[in-house]
């Protein structure tokens, strides 16, 4: 008995050791660009993580199936399950960054916590990190954060737009004076990011901001909503993720807080968030940046080249859903980054360092997007050494009980407010981490 077990144990351990050695053996085929995929299909955030990952992977498959890769460079990819946990994310990053002939092209962390951890490593590893619509707001400053690309929006931008929206409803930002705004947020770096800006704005417009954190995973919110019922804020911003959103809406119903006055960030504005609440979610609003729900040319292609060939990653039904589309757009950004870089470095597998240049010189206008089949699903993006965000615009959409209805007004983050904050925060980071900022002017000059 004992002997058997010792053998079993030994076997298990050796297996473990060999296993952990696997990733060191990188495949050495030429003409392949490796895309790492950090995803979470399990745990409390699986309902949101899964459709995003499916969209991301489907697009990569599409590029191979339809265009035969990026200018002939085949795409390879590998998924790694982070479970939204930072330490797991770091392990995945370390595992995947070296794969493929040229190493990982670009990472989407899909978690603000993981973003924070990887940002530190990016300086030595020289692999860009795209955090499309999440991540750390101050990483817009490309002079300090050379490797971060919060493309298309940050949480400071998001919060800013929400304030603008309700300001508009009230008939002018000055009308916000004395109004009560509550922020119900996921108690993590993700949820805490917007606070800085909301407080800044509060100083400007004199509204009263109350902070209501919800602990991971966010299924226990009774007390939070009792407080909401007590203070009856004029507006409520929801900064949740995963099950937290659905629960929040249910509790809102339970305490009779009007959904019309609830505004979610773009990560609290997808189908999985409203469905659990059923009819209760009717009237609930959320930001939606470049990719609302719906079908377009790219979806048709996905159907034609991926799903109809039985290559679909997820169920057909989810193609066109909000988070799925976000996945598509995210993948598109990675691919376009590589494309752009290929113009400079040639049509071959590229290093992360080279992709960084591509991402820093993205110029996707409406025409280009339309050509890619993303007309109406993505906003123009043009990045630069100084600005790694490349434009931050969004709309508000409202859940009518069975679909998202997108409003007409387009909002744009007010850089007057945000830029100084970004500079300050980035400077603090640079000083803390002893990073010497780049001099963009000089780099441009030398490039010419």
């Amino acid at each position: 008995m004992k002997l058997q077990t010792s053998i079993a144990a030994a076997a298990a351990i050796t297996a473990a050791l060999t296993g952990s050695l696997l990733p060191t053996s990188a495949s050495a085929q030429a003409k392949e660009q490796f895309f790492p995929v950090l995803s979470y299909r399990t745990g409390a955030y699986a309902p949101n993580g899964t459709p995003f990952a499916n969209g991301y992977v489907d697009y990569l498959k599409l590029i191979n199936a339809r265009d035969g890769g990026i200018n002939g460079v085949k795409i390879t990819y590998e998924e790694c399950e982070t479970g939204y946990a930072t330490d797991r994310g770091v392990e995945c990053y370390e595992r995947l960054k070296g794969k493929g002939p040229t190493g990982a092209a670009v990472f989407h962390t899909l978690s603000t916590g993981i973003t924070f951890a990887l940002t530190d490593k990016s300086f030595t590893d020289k692999i860009p990190i795209i955090t499309a619509g999440y991540g750390r707001a101050d990483s817009v400053d490309g002079q300090v954060f050379k490797w971060n690309f919060p493309l298309g929006g940050t949480y400071w931008g998001a919060a800013d737009m929400l304030i603008q929206h309700i300001g508009k409803k009230e008939g002018g930002l000055d009308k916000l004076k004395g109004k009560k705004i509550a922020l119900v947020y996921h108690d993590s770096p993700y949820g805490k990011e917007p606070i800085a800006l909301l407080q800044e704005r509060a100083k400007m417009h004199g509204y009263e901001l109350s902070l209501l954190p919800v602990t991971h995973p966010g299924v226990e919110q009774k007390a939070t909503w009792l407080q909401v019922r007590q203070s009856r804020p004029d507006y409520l911003f929801l900064w949740g993720w995963g099950v937290m959103n659905g629960t929040a809406l249910k509790e809102a119903v339970a305490v009779g807080y009007p959904r019309e006055k609830m505004y979610g960030v773009w990560w609290a504005g997808a189908e999985p968030d409203v469905r659990p609440a059923g009819d209760g979610a009717k009237g609930y609003n959320a930001l939606t940046f470049m990719a609302p729900a719906g079908q377009g040319k790219v979806h048709a292609d996905v159907m034609k080249f991926v799903h109809d060939k039985g290559q679909g990653t997820g169920p057909k039904a989810e193609v066109g859903e909000v988070l799925y589309n976000r996945g598509l757009v995210a993948a598109m950004m990675s691919v376009e980054g590589v494309k752009r870089a290929q113009l400079k470095y040639g049509k071959k597998p590229l290093k992360g360092e080279e992709v960084q240049w591509g991402l820093e010189n993205l110029a996707l206008d409406q025409k280009a997007l339309a050509a890619l089949g993303f007309a109406g699903f993505a906003d123009p993006i043009s990045t630069s050494c100084v600005d790694h965000e490349g434009g931050s615009r969004a709309k508000i959409h409202t859940w009518d009980g069975n679909k998202w209805v997108v409003g007409n007004d387009v909002y744009e983050a007010d850089q007057q407010v945000i830029k100084p904050m970004i500079r300050a925060s980035a400077a603090k980071y640079a000083q803390e981490k002893k990073v010497t900022p780049r001099d963009c002017a000089k780099e441009l000059a030398s490039a010419k």
Binding site: P47, L211, L212, G218, Q227, G246, K250, G256, R275
Partner: protein, 345 residues
């Protein structure tokens, strides 16, 4: 012994009572105060449901079953998914009939689970020290979490008991704005009460129930009744499984069935500490105390704390229950209703 210990207990009680009364005295709207109280009680009912499972198993087998939470998740998943699939399989009308059948099947599944646990885990570990058994149930927890999601899926699933989610107002006449009560919570309370009554009957009236009580007292006695110990364990784990199913149903219908259900079970620990490991009424009262206590603390104690020390938000309910339990342990280790045990040389 007892005499020396009652002093602090009373003191603690007084402090809690004072804390309970404080908001009213400091002039919060009585209507809202009542709402918080009710809200706390409702949350407490849910805690009690899980705590019940703990107590049942601890009473009969002396095992501190960490897996109770995982069992709740597993049962809820089974119920939700079966209710979803059955119509497709055997063409039984969706909605209540499917749900009812699913409930029966899920019960069966929990019984099988109990049997497996007894066979695979408990029997080999019989007469190990309690900590080892606790670890074993931790193992069971992990296994169930993985297994459950593998066969039932890891998305959010609905259990629709067909209760409207819209709140109702009562006592409008007495308080302005009235007092808001959620029908769901009321139903949950009713179900919990029924369950407790069922258990009470089971333990008082049936032979098996009496046998279980005997085991709780001492194992030889149980032997003499003529029911083999390990069958008793299967039974008690099955009962606990059933309790988990009910808890899962109530919770699932409220919050949606999802992985994170398992986490709420941690809340049941302070409950059983408070109520005493071996007392069913203790589990219920403990649950209510914790529920009310933490909601009160969060709503009325949180904001002032945040102001005082400029904290980044409240959220003291995360630890309140545990610290309360800890204080209680220091003054009365055996809990409110638990039997006290003095170890001799």
């Amino acid at each position: 012994m007892a005499a020396r210990k009652n002093g602090p207990v009373i003191a603690l009680g007084v402090v809690l009572a004072a804390g309970l009364a404080a908001p009213l005295l400091t002039g919060s709207a009585p209507g809202f105060y009542l709402e918080v109280l009710i809200g706390g009680l409702m949350a407490g009912v849910l805690y009690s449901l899980v705590a019940l499972g703990f107590v049942l198993i601890f009473k009969a087998s002396g095992v501190f079953n960490f897996a109770q939470g995982a069992m709740v998740l597993f049962a809820a998943l089974a119920l939700a998914r079966l209710a979803e699939w059955l119509p497709g399989w055997i063409g039984i009308p969706a909605g209540f009939p499917a749900l009812a059948l699913a409930f029966v099947l899920a019960t069966g599944i929990m019984i099988v689970l109990a049997w497996v646990v007894e066979r695979v885990v408990l029997r080999p570990l019989v007469a190990q020290d309690p900590v080892a058994l606790l670890m074993a149930t931790l193992g069971v927890t992990f296994f169930l979490d993985g297994f459950g999601q593998t066969i039932w899926g890891s998305d959010v699933y609905k259990i629709d008991l067909g209760i409207s989610k819209e709140p109702t107002m009562i006592l409008q006449s007495m308080f302005e704005g009235g007092i808001l009560v959620s029908k769901e919570d009321l139903v949950a309370t009713v179900i919990a009460t029924l369950l407790v009554l069922m258990l009470a009957l089971f333990f008082q009236k049936t032979a098996t129930g009496r046998a279980l009580r005997a085991v709780a007292d001492d194992h030889q006695a149980a032997q003499s009744i003529g029911i083999p110990l390990n069958r008793i364990w299967v039974i008690v784990w099955a009962v606990a499984g059933f309790v988990a199913l009910v808890a899962g149903m109530v919770w699932g219908s409220k919050l949606g069935v999802q992985f994170s259900l398992a986490q709420l079970a941690l809340k049941a620990l302070p409950v059983v500490i408070l109520g005493g490991f071996t007392s069913i009424p203790g589990a219920i009262i403990g649950g209510l105390v914790i529920g009310v206590g933490e909601k009160m603390a969060e709503v009325f104690l949180g904001p002032p704390l945040v102001k005082m020390w400029d904290l980044a938000g409240g959220g003291i309910e995360n630890w309140f229950a545990y610290v309360l339990a800890l204080l209680f342990l220091m003054v009365r280790p055996e809990g409110l209703f638990g039997e006290k045990h003095i170890d001799r040389v």
